[in-house]
Symmetry: C2
Subunit: 220 residues, 2 copies
């Protein structure tokens, strides 16, 4: 049972640090979302479009989580938004501690909305809180509509599901009704947004929703 | 430094069990490949096509690794091949111990080629040996050609890379030359097979290659 105990200790320690991060974000009135998906589902493109859609409404910053490399952070930086790269050095998710270590690089008194892009992985990121208000996940249509059944935790933990790459629907076997139904069975409160981050189709509904979440948080 | 020590202990214990599995496979003259990719890159479709391509050449069996659910194992079972499901119950990869526990369900005296389909994850499966002869990975074109730079370990550990979903090349931004170049920089010995597991395009080159690997192993 040693392994289980160790895993539990790690999760407990992470939970404590995540709560401390959350307390700091509350003090600074910063709304935070933790963006998760498989590799290549379109997280960075969603971040880029979200920046462009909301840059006149909120002061934004981005934390990029990757095993190594800075190519996503470089893409975000081109939008003129503060961005910090976390390189996990092999770890398959970001955790509370990594986010805490990244915060001194940001001017938190001038941030309304902090976007944390997790490592591409449909499993472990869902287990580690980082101090976020909500978890948001993407599922892209080429991945297939069987994913809720096979990777349930992330669907259960997320507040919103962005069904990305709907521009590819004519060319892939993706059963939209089944994906919706299975995701909502796992999480009846899940908000679902069919979107193409490439063409922009459906993007406005997501942008308006997240805008409303940030506004409501900042008024509360 | 406690965490590092624990991780090292787990990896050491796994290495020992993987070696024991390997010894058993050698005794039984069974070639084993460990199939890895992101969720939805096409592992199960590759397994199904490989069964159909080689079923007259070799006696095959399949171990399916999933967090939960048996939908992939059900697909494989329709081909009339022995299949065992490992449900990891949350873990993001299969390891030597899980494979060892699955073996009593197979008649190893009547298996030439054992295919182990790992959990969909581009990170952790590459760290855990299971007793395989080789690791094989898929990367699908919608995931993007930046993946070697961002998830290097799996490219370094694999003997072959199947670049799947080439039927989608006209509709996605995938730089085939860059993906090849970056993958070969990480691993100059990597065999690369551009394939559509959906249409069958390019599949024969993969089938002939793996057939040759199994033959050479069984003669040695």
């Amino acid at each position: 049972m040693t392994t289980v105990q160790v895993v539990k200790d790690i999760l407990d320690a992470n939970e404590r640090i995540a709560r401390e991060n959350r307390r700091l974000f509350d003090e600074k009135n910063i709304y935070v979302f933790n963006l998760m998906s498989s590799p290549g589902a379109g997280k960075t493109t969603l971040v880029e479009r979200t920046i462009e859609a909301l840059r006149d409404r909120f002061r934004m910053a981005v934390i990029e989580g990757d095993i190594q490399d800075t190519c996503d952070a470089d893409r975000v930086a081109r939008h003129g938004i503060p961005v910090v790269q976390i390189n996990t050095g092999g770890a398959c998710h970001i955790d509370g501690n990594m986010v805490r270590d990244a915060l001194p690089a940001l001017d938190l008194d001038n941030v309304d909305l902090l976007i944390c892009e997790n490592v591409g992985n449909l499993v472990c990121p869902a287990e580690f809180r980082i101090g976020e208000n909500v978890k948001i996940m993407l599922l892209s249509t080429p991945e297939g509509s069987d994913k809720p059944a096979k990777y349930p935790l992330m669907f259960q933990e997320s507040a919103a599901l962005i069904l990305n790459k709907i521009d590819l629907l004519p060319y892939v076997d993706f059963d939209m009704a089944k994906a919706r139904k299975d995701a909502l069975t796992l999480n009846p409160k899940l908000e679902i947004f069919p979107v193409s981050c490439k063409t922009g189709e459906g993007f406005d509904a997501w942008a308006r929703w997240i805008e409303r979440q940030v506004e409501e948080f900042r008024k509360s």
